[in-house]
Amino acid sequence: MIEFSNYDILRNLLFATQWTILLSLAAFIGGTTVALTLTAMRLTRNPVMQRIVKIYVELFQGTPLLMQMFLCFFGLSMLGYEISAWGAAILSLTFFTSAFLVEIWRGCIDTLPKGQWEASRCLGLSFLQTLRHIILPQAIRVATAPTVGFSVQVIKGTALASVIGFVELTKVGTMLNNATFEPFKIFTLVALIYFMLCYPLSLYSKHLEKKFNVSR
């Protein structure tokens, strides 16, 4: 059996943290992109589009992220699509992130007075022009704080990717534990690293919220 010094443990965990960060970023970018598209679809007054978004949101909010990951990973391979653990993790986290972001953003857009849409329409701006020049700039200011806040959920969600074999922080923690049998030390360290990733984001989100409330 290989001996692990504290230094080795920490070095391995920190190395794995890179993958956690990378997966979080990929999921967040993917989720934001999909959520933007879904938001635009919802804002058109087309009932079919709105229905699609509604079903999407209900589907991915109403089922556990872990099941979505299993389905992406095992389900897709059974259908004949080879997908890596990394691909399946990004895919399912993108679904998860976008389904929540689209709801968060809907709330933000709905707080804008109807008069903003009407005034813009009366000035002759098209739907997309109104979105781009009037609605989005205001909605983004409102949405930044809750969006940053939600990114914490994405980071924590990446831990589930360990179950389908993606080697990130939690997975490496489990592997180290199997090798060293020092669960208390190792999982404390793992938790601490997650905390150091998440806490600054929580703080930043609260700061943004305060800043926004003052400037209103």
Partner: protein, 242 residues
């Protein structure tokens, strides 16, 4: 030729029959004041004229072109119809100048310089030239409403619709907005305004339209109609206002 024409316009909100066959003909240069009780359909009428609300029967034309709520039609309509709202509806994330320049640059595709020249001229007209770089939230209600007027004027509309545009203002700020309207009327712009300002309707307006239960109940020359109402409903309404 009439600038705005409504012919037997009916409008329903679900089962609620809000406009019950409106006939109205407005010529260029007229200043038409629409008065009436709350719920009589005044706002709905204005919102049908500028395509914000759909009507179910009858016809509306502005400058000879039919009004619908189709996006593309509304945008063409916006070139001839300006709207001022009770709550100003300025864009809070833009400066006063940007508010006024927005539609001319995006919709009329004017150059920035050209749009700025127009914007400064319109703000000058409403007495707010020095507020070009301020944000709306720094202005009083009366000033915000004057910016909204400048913003509409920058599109050089043929007719300006105003829905109770002084109702949200503190009493001491009403005068400055009415003064701007009076100036515009003198310059010959066509105004259609829903208002409770009877003095303005009498002194500046060229016609008063009294609406009751979704119909044009009585209309005519302001001085005549306000001092000598023909229907009991208008008498009652005047009694309530005065």
């Amino acid at each position: 030729m009439s600038l705005v024409n409504l012919h037997q316009v009916h409008k329903y909100y679900g089962d609620n029959h809000v406009l019950k066959g409106i006939d109205l003909d407005i010529k260029a240069g007229e200043v038409v004041s629409i008065i009436g009780k709350s719920g009589s359909g005044k706002s709905t009428l204005l919102r049908c004229i500028n395509g914000l609300e759909q009507y179910q029967e009858g016809g509306i034309t502005v400058d000879g072109k039919e009004v619908t709520t189709e996006d593309i039609q509304v945008r063409r309509l916006a070139l001839s119809v300006g709207m001022i709202f009770q709550n100003f509806n300025l864009f809070p994330h833009m400066t006063v100048g940007e508010n006024v320049m927005l539609a001319p640059t995006i919709v009329l595709k004017k150059s920035k310089a050209e749009a700025e020249t127009t914007a400064r001229a319109m703000l000058e007209k409403v007495g707010l030239a020095e507020k070009f770089d301020s944000f709306p939230e720094k202005l009083s209600g009366g000033q915000q409403q004057r910016v909204a007027i400048a913003r509409a004027l920058a599109m050089s509309p043929k007719v300006l619709l105003c829905d109770e545009i002084t109702s949200a203002l503190d009493p001491e700020l009403v005068g400055e907005v009415l003064k701007v309207l009076e100036q515009l009327a003198k310059e010959g712009i066509t105004l259609v305004l829903v208002t409770h300002e009877m003095n303005f309707a009498r002194d500046v307006g060229s016609r008063v339209v009294f609406m009751h239960q979704g119909k044009v109940w009585e209309q005519g020359d302001p001085k005549t109609i306000l001092s000598n109402p023909q229907t009991d409903e208008l008498k009652q309404f005047m009694g309530a206002v005065l």
